[in-house]
């Protein structure tokens, strides 16, 4: 081939390769961290909440179908956590507090799920919930005693939990919204309380509008 300026051509090809590589690697320049990629993927997949057995702060045992027909607002935590979890639950209360009262308990259920079932027995959960003004009914705290079921749920919802050596866990945090059919429909930033509350209210308003 009669080519000239070969190095310019190869530079161009390399550059093109770089653009394609970064494009693929970041889902079209969207997701630079695995957490963003995870949330984007969840929104696309809309995974079903598995039918696990929960044990709540009043030691009642039931499966997730207990909440069928309601939206469920979920967070994942462990009570021995001194850093993110209290903030997460405070913010969850912030959302709870901002929602129109008529929806609470009737159209939407609040649920905090512990991924540390060994330590978070019903008594611990019950004393923990009081710190965050949870009433234990419309906002329950529960553990999943069966480890396989727990892992299945964490896996489906993309919750990464890494135990460190001091009895703590590193974990990603978010607000999860599951629809009345048990499908995950939204993952929200737990630091943006206003936004999450508005989002949930508008979903509930739409639902209420449809029923009329």
């Amino acid at each position: 081939m009669m080519l000239k300026n070969r190095t310019a051509l190869s530079s161009l090809l390399v550059l093109l390769f770089g653009v394609v590589l970064f494009y693929i690697g970041t889902d079209g320049f969207q997701a630079y961290t695995a957490e963003t990629a995870r949330v984007n993927q969840l929104m696309e997949d809309k995974p079903q909440f598995p039918d696990v057995t929960l044990e709540d702060n009043k030691a009642r045992k039931y499966t997730f179908s207990e909440f069928e027909g309601k939206y469920v607002f979920i967070t994942f935590l462990y009570t021995a956590c001194g850093t993110v979890c209290p903030e997460l639950e405070m913010n969850m209360f912030g959302v709870y507090d901002r929602l129109p009262e008529e929806y609470i308990g009737k159209d939407i259920q609040f649920l905090s799920i512990s991924f540390d079932p060994d330590r978070d027995d019903p008594e611990t959960l019950d004393s923990y919930r009081k710190m965050f003004k949870s009433d234990g009914e419309t906002w329950r705290m529960a553990r999943i005693t069966d480890k396989d079921e727990l892992n299945e749920l964490l896996d489906r919802f993309g919750v990464t939990v890494i135990p460190d050596n001091n009895g703590n866990f590193a974990h990603n945090s978010a607000f999860y919204l599951v629809n009345p059919q048990g499908r995950l429909i939204d993952v929200m930033d737990y630091k943006r309380i206003e936004e999450a509350a508005e989002q949930v209210t508008s979903i509930l308003d739409d639902e209420a509008g449809d029923e009329k």
């Binding site: 190869s10 530079s11 390399v14 550059l15 390769f17 770089g18 961290t33 695995a34």
Partner: protein
């Protein structure tokens, strides 16, 4: 040719699952030991390709710039928090790491470096010093945990690793500016 063999041995050792798992279990050894060692392996293996395919490098990397560009793209790619996370969870990304760092970063760097003028050489070191300062800042002061598979404390450790590397590069730049290297070479 012997060094190409050493490079291959190094690469194979790095790929061995126990070695890979060990280095990847800590964030800073993953990024600041395993990855540079992979580039080094490619750097050594490069000799083999240079001898085997001299025209290819002569034709397509005559001034060293395409190779340098490729090196920057590949190393830049592996500083994205997500790519590091995904090597731990996806086998294909892990495989791409073991291929791209030696062959698309180490090999072109070896071929390009002697061809580059000192302007480009210093430019690239300045570029990486700035990039690493930025990465260090990001990893240390980011309010968020950037990688799901590593603890926050490891992220901060890695940040300091970036900063110290950047400082070393700046020291080197100052050193090379004030010290006349040719003096050493003539006397030895």
């Amino acid at each position: 040719m012997r060094q190409a063999q050493y490079g291959l041995v190094l690469l194979v050792i790095l790929i061995l699952p126990p070695v890979a798992n060990l280095l990847e279990s800590i964030m800073i050894t993953h990024m600041h030991m395993q990855m540079p060692l992979l580039v080094l392996a490619g750097f050594l293996i490069a000799k083999f390709f240079q001898i085997k395919y001299p025209q290819f490098f002569e034709k397509w990397n005559a001034n060293g710039l395409p190779g340098l560009l490729l090196f920057i793209i590949i190393t830049g790619y592996w500083t994205i928090p997500r790519t590091m996370d995904e090597t731990l969870t996806m086998a294909s990304v892990e495989a791409f790491k073991f291929f791209s760092l030696p062959f698309l970063a180490g090999v072109p760097l070896r071929d390009s470096w002697p061809k580059l003028s000192s302007f480009w050489k210093n430019g690239i070191i300045i570029f990486f010093a700035i990039l690493y300062l930025g990465m260090g800042w990001l990893y240390i002061w980011s309010p968020e945990q950037l990688c799901n598979n590593y603890l926050l404390i490891e992220q901060i450790t890695l940040g300091w690793g970036f900063l110290t590397t950047a400082v070393c590069m700046v020291i080197y730049l100052g050193y090379s500016y004030f010290i006349d290297f040719t003096q050493y070479e003539t006397e030895s």
